[in-house]
Amino acid sequence: NSSSSNGNTFLLPGATVATILMLGALHARRLYDDKKVEEAKEKGFEPGFQPDAKASFLGLLPLRTISRMWGSLMSVELPVKMRPYVYRAWARAFHSNLEEVALPLEAYPSMRDFFARRLREGCRPIDNDSQCLISPVDGIVVRFGELKEPGAMIEQVKGFSYSVSALLGLNSFLPMVSGKDVAEKSSEVENVHRDQTKKSWWRVSFSSPKFQEPVPASPMKGLFYCVLYLSPGDYHRIHSPVDWNVLVRRHFSGRLYPVNERATRTIRNLYVENERVVLEGHWQQGYLALAAIGATNIGSIELYIEPELRTNRPRKKFLQSEPPEERVYEREGVGCMVKKGEEVAAFNTG
């Protein structure tokens, strides 16, 4: 009895030490891999797409549930005295700039409220040149360019691209890329854009298949894209890039993989798989779409033009790949008009 009880007394500490050593080794290996990638990038060599065991393992995890649990943890109200210490620790870990925070740190009841903080007035001056399109968020420019080939693919990382229509939804009224033919059709579409009295047009347009086929771009219009990554310490509200009319909102209830640089190199179709909200509409130059894509630690996307929308809700098992849920904004038949720089949405935890 004494030897078996001795054995048991050593079992728990032994297993704990072994687990910590194993996790430490994995972490060290990951730091080594990431250092190799950084060195390669400094030499101008961009590592290509390479799925790994970690990506496959992530695919097995209940990431949406983990995200909601994380959100519940972040929603716990903190004692007032503790708040400045917690938020300063977060700011130090994720390089947030506390100088710009709109309210005193004690005013944010929970980490989730601090995460969705506003900035002080004047912190983000809007470039009002009417010819420019502004950044809707704080972040890092991951990729940008013009969509050339008819398939309209965006490179996720060297060696792997995803389709824009898969990202925005098959119902999208994404103009075809540089359609040589039927210029008059696109001018017809543009005329209708301008003619705001035809209320029924937009309603019809999104219900009848006729208008759901991609609208060809007029010969002198190109289709451009820009991918922006927000790190955990960034300001997480989304502003309008131009003056535009938001006509449709499409919510894809998807996975919640992490979207950091490593995930883009190892998870196939990352942005097409993940939970996201797509806003589609038009601006003075034609078509415009904004896709807000969630991640494990940021499962919630809130819209100011539709406060009742909820994302990352529990899903019934058999509805794993449910179709996107769509809403056509009907104010006066021209959808919601949003001014350049105006707050449109916000990312949040949970």
């Binding site: 420019c132 399109l133 991951v142 289709l223 820009c226 927000l230 509200r237 078509y287 415009l288």
Partner: protein
């Protein structure tokens, strides 16, 4: 999290008489840090 913008904008016209072209141009580089309100392109 990530935001993807997709938008139509004018592309370069072959300007024979050298009038300034009205094509859209990005004024960012990959890896740039950008803030709300700063121009992505004109």
């Amino acid at each position: 999290s990530t935001v993807v913008l997709v938008f139509q904008a004018p592309v370069a016209k072959s300007t024979k008489d050298n009038t300034p072209s009205t094509d859209f141009r990005f004024n960012i580089k990959r890896g740039d840090r950008i803030h709300v309100g700063e121009a992505l392109g004109r």
